[in-house]
Amino acid sequence: MSSSVPATEHPMSTQQTQGPTLTRVTKSETVKLRTLRSHVALLAAAALFLLVLGPVQALGQVIAPQGGPPLTDLGAATSVALNGGVTAALLLGVLGVLSVTSEFPSALVRTTFWAVPRRGLVVRGKALAFSGLVLPIVLVGAAVALEVSRVILGRIGSPLTWAEPGTWWAAVAMSLYAVGWGLLGQALGWILRSAVGAAFALLGLMFVLPMLVALLPQPAADAVLPLLVSEAGSAMMRVDQGGSGLAPPVAALVWVGWMVAGLVVATITVRRRDA
């Protein structure tokens, strides 16, 4: 047992290349995400809801087709197929919160900031690790839910088909939506440092804020409401071109803008504070 087990050779000149980079921090954060059972369980549960809830409802439509208007348009069909998406997004929001706040009770975050003193790198690395791990899963999950539902709903002649670009958009928008909840959860986790606080703030942002804004005097409410993260999120997932609110591509930009803004505020907050 010798203490001088050297790491790889690193003369001073190459030390620059041996420090933390965004790629390395992202890898490190991915390890952290994957190695806590509670995190893996949440991710699995989210995927399960996304996969199962939609097809189950589609099956219900086939067996007892009385609930609501018949699925004549694509938008109604995709929203049945992706019925589990909102629940999945909620769970992923909690996962996002926990991926950050789980570092605080044990002060693990100090070890993290010792290894990576540039804290903005940690915030970005965590966000990238989360997106890199979750996005493929929800994308595949949404696609599978759509495909299974398509097969089921085909029996009652629904217009759900991959020939429509709207179907693809539905899968992509749902994935963006689900990942976005997680990133917003991370941002709130950094800012509030408490799992409970951040989870409630996330729910407030998504469900309570639109209700409060709706109470504003009319022109103001109409102007602000579509820009809220919750409204932009649902507008983004709309497949039919008509209807009120922002057009889906614009809504997607607003949605992503909220994520970026959240993480920027998180970075500023985390940099200013003592760890």
Binding site: Q15, G19, K32, S102, F113, W114, A115, D274
Partner: protein, 308 residues
């Protein structure tokens, strides 16, 4: 090399670290001693860029920790053995740290072997004893093979075997030319481990001396009691002694041998009722150093306030 200059940290109205300056040199084990709450951990956090100083600087290899190109390869740190997620396996914890500096499985295995946790690598840290967590913390600190090692209370909760292990590890790291900076609130423990001692109390620097010097200074004191303590004190001080009051009629005299004291009292026709050498323990020396600078003091304070 760690250079601390006029470092100050205030939390609201509390001064946790009060204008401290000292240097931690390579090739030595430097002990950072002080009672709990003296500002040791805060100082270490500032060295690592975790807390922002209110004033002054803490430099590592000539610059602030945050500006180092590869911080974890320059300074290995363990601030608290509990800074690990309890439900994550030891190996996963170390892997996450190793990835940040582009190290992988091989390096993690090396540090696990080094601290003797190879067989426990897949266990969740929450099931570890405090001693095992200390070992894990030390393993994490050494991942980057750093030239400077900062450990906060690494011997806390260790059994005698563990203490000997940490001690010999620190010795070896210092002998390899590394800078080793270790805090403790136990004087005896540090006296056997450190080459150099930096003592703080209530946020202030109390001593910055080689361990040898502190030990010899602590070796002995002569207790002298007589009816005229004031005159006695003057005579002894004039002769070069350091004199401290120890109760109403007694003095604690250092820097003079008992024979010299006896000769002086005879020369000055001073009555002496007691003249006895008291061996002071290291703990006494430490207590004396930090006495005026301790936040939580037991009986002495009340006694003094009453007599005033």
């Amino acid at each position: 090399m760690i250079e601390i200059e006029n470092l100050t940290k205030r939390f609201g109205s509390t001064v946790a670290v009060d204008d401290i300056s000292f240097t931690v040199r390579p090739g030595l084990v430097t002990g950072f001693l002080g009672p709990n709450g003296a500002g040791k951990s805060t100082t270490m956090r500032m060295v690592l860029g975790l807390d922002r100083p209110t004033g002054g600087t803490a430099h590592v290899d000539g610059r602030s920790f945050v500006d180092l190109p590869s911080p974890a390869r320059a300074v290995g740190a363990m601030l608290d053995a509990g800074q690990v997620h309890p439900r994550r396996a030891a190996q996963a914890h170390l892997t996450a740290i190793a990835e940040t500096i582009g190290e992988g499985r091989v390096r993690v295995q090396q540090v696990l072997d080094l601290v003797g946790l190879t067989d426990q690598a897949r266990r969740r840290v929450g099931t570890f004893s405090l001693g095992m967590r200390q070992r894990l913390g030390i393993a994490a600190a050494l991942i980057g093979d750093p030239g400077i090692i900062v450990l906060d209370e690494p011997m806390n909760g260790l059994d005698p075997d563990g203490i000997i292990w940490v001690r010999s590890l620190l010795r070896r790291l210092a002998d390899e030319g590394r800078t080793v900076f270790v805090s403790s609130h136990l004087m005896g423990e540090m006296a056997q481990t450190a080459d150099h001692l930096v003592v703080v109390g209530r946020g202030r620097l109390v001593a910055d001396v080689p361990t040898e010097q502190l030990l010899s200074g602590a070796a002995s004191v002569v207790r002298v009691r007589g009816p005229e303590p004031a005159r006695l004190a003057r005579v002894l001080t004039d002769a070069g002694a350091t004199v401290k009051r120890a109760g109403d009629s007694a003095l604690h005299v250092s820097d003079l041998e008992p024979a010299q004291i006896a000769r002086l009292t005879l020369d000055h026709r001073l009555e002496v009722h007691e003249l006895v050498t008291e061996r002071r323990s290291l703990e006494d020396a430490f207590l004396e150093l930090t006495h005026d600078a301790t936040d939580y003091r037991a009986d002495h304070t009340t006694e003094r306030t009453v007599t005033r």
